[in-house]
Point group: C2
Amino acid sequence: MQSFESLSQQFAERFSVDHFPATPPTLYDPNRYFLQLGGKRVRPVLCLMGNELFDDINPDSWEVATAIELFHNFTLIHDDIMDAAPLRRGMPTVHEKFGASTALLAGDVMLVAAYESLNRTSGRYVHFVNNLFNKTAREVCEGQQLDMDFEKQSSVSFEAYLQMINLKTSVLLAASLRMGALLGGAGERNQNLLYEFGRKLGLAFQVQDDYLDAFGDPEKFGKQVGGDIKANKKTFLLIHALEAATGGAASELRQLLDNDAPDKVARVTDIYRACGVDAWARELKETYYNQALGHLDDVAVLSARKAPLKELAAFLVQRDY
Amino acid sequence: MQSFESLSQQFAERFSVDHFPATPPTLYDPNRYFLQLGGKRVRPVLCLMGNELFDDINPDSWEVATAIELFHNFTLIHDDIMDAAPLRRGMPTVHEKFGASTALLAGDVMLVAAYESLNRTSGRYVHFVNNLFNKTAREVCEGQQLDMDFEKQSSVSFEAYLQMINLKTSVLLAASLRMGALLGGAGERNQNLLYEFGRKLGLAFQVQDDYLDAFGDPEKFGKQVGGDIKANKKTFLLIHALEAATGGAASELRQLLDNDAPDKVARVTDIYRACGVDAWARELKETYYNQALGHLDDVAVLSARKAPLKELAAFLVQRDY
């Protein structure tokens, strides 16, 4: 059983190989640029941990983990185009640096490279792994489309937002764990439990992400606090506030969404506090987190083997940055 | 042995199923819209014919043919974004009708759907088929990038243009044939011969395409004659003319490329004729076409089985519309 740090380091080392040919450099240099921006590599490590929960790491798991990380980076390159995001990890995004057409194509070929890694696995699980990978890829696209749809809607229900986050964020964490579990020889029941663990962990993670945007410590939080509020981004907090706020608070919140007041962030967070959205979000996160841990508890392996996954889950959900 | 018409009709019927779920319609309606615009379905039929050259159609070939056609449509949706093309088959392109972000995502999910079809094949050939599919997908992206790179260059060599066309157009025709041959039980030598047949056929096809743009009969040619000339698009003809023209013709051609004269199309085609570019292109097409047929001749099956492929090849290269 290896820790997140140890697996993350090993994965980063293997992942640092060049995934692309030399030519044409106009296509592949943007891919190399983007991958060297780094990242926590949480998803591939979840795959490796899902495997190690049941058995020593299957060589195929490294290939699947690589496929997952390449897929994740494909979604980031394309999402950045759609969001017209200028920066990613503090550096210019691919479309910003190389143009939108090249970013589009670099993302496409990154997705193909993910499938190339997937196809490097040995025969035994290839159909099942491909099946889950494809289903997940499709769902992540659906989640991104719903996210864009929501930007144009004045109100979004909690259930609809939850479903969007489930697709856009949770299913990839869940599938990473399940593919690892499968390659580690887990039976279907244990695979399903790990999938649900990942799904709920993803929801808790997103609640925490939304929470930190409004209530994070500016000294610790990497991004600008209040960025979601400034952009009127639908978040767990805003959606709940729109449902929970009444009377003057409700109309003030609506007004703040329609007009960009200079003190918008402070006033929206004040409304959040007045409506108890902060406490509600902390509780919601705990609920999903505890549901996640419950699924992990039910997995039929010695609890000592679960320690690294528990540690990673706690880190993802309790981080304050 | 079935004719192109018969196989094309059968494929069209099978392909007319809905490849996408109902929700979210904001993502999948654009995909459905694009697929119902139709097309000749040449690539999937090449796969089926590659199979039937050796044996009755393997059920897997229908899935691979579907994957190929979905892949081809993915490239069209994304190419149209990159080219800012307003129309495709006389109808609004996906980005024109649904916006660039949705078109990007619709293309992504079309590619995932292609891999889903591919993964529906039975186990025996899955690694090999995936390998060739991935390699080809990567090369098509490289070809598109080179095409965009060339737009920014004042001159492109014949060899560089040939390599771009090979990647952007030929390898998918070649791989379609080879995957079908593999599924039909062909040995490696015959697979390679069919691949080369497809590659050369693709080059002949592109020469014909470039030729018709300048010298096609406006009554028969579907597109506007001279479209490539107006857009200064690099074509076999322009590249050869820039190499072959001397003296006054060379400087006039350079001038016409720099300025949009109202009679540009007529004057450029006059220069093409004066430099013998029309005869050169007809000869180049014949050369590639004959090389293609030579590879097909070498395939070790009864020549009667080759009749439908020969017929399709002649149609693709000799069409005047």
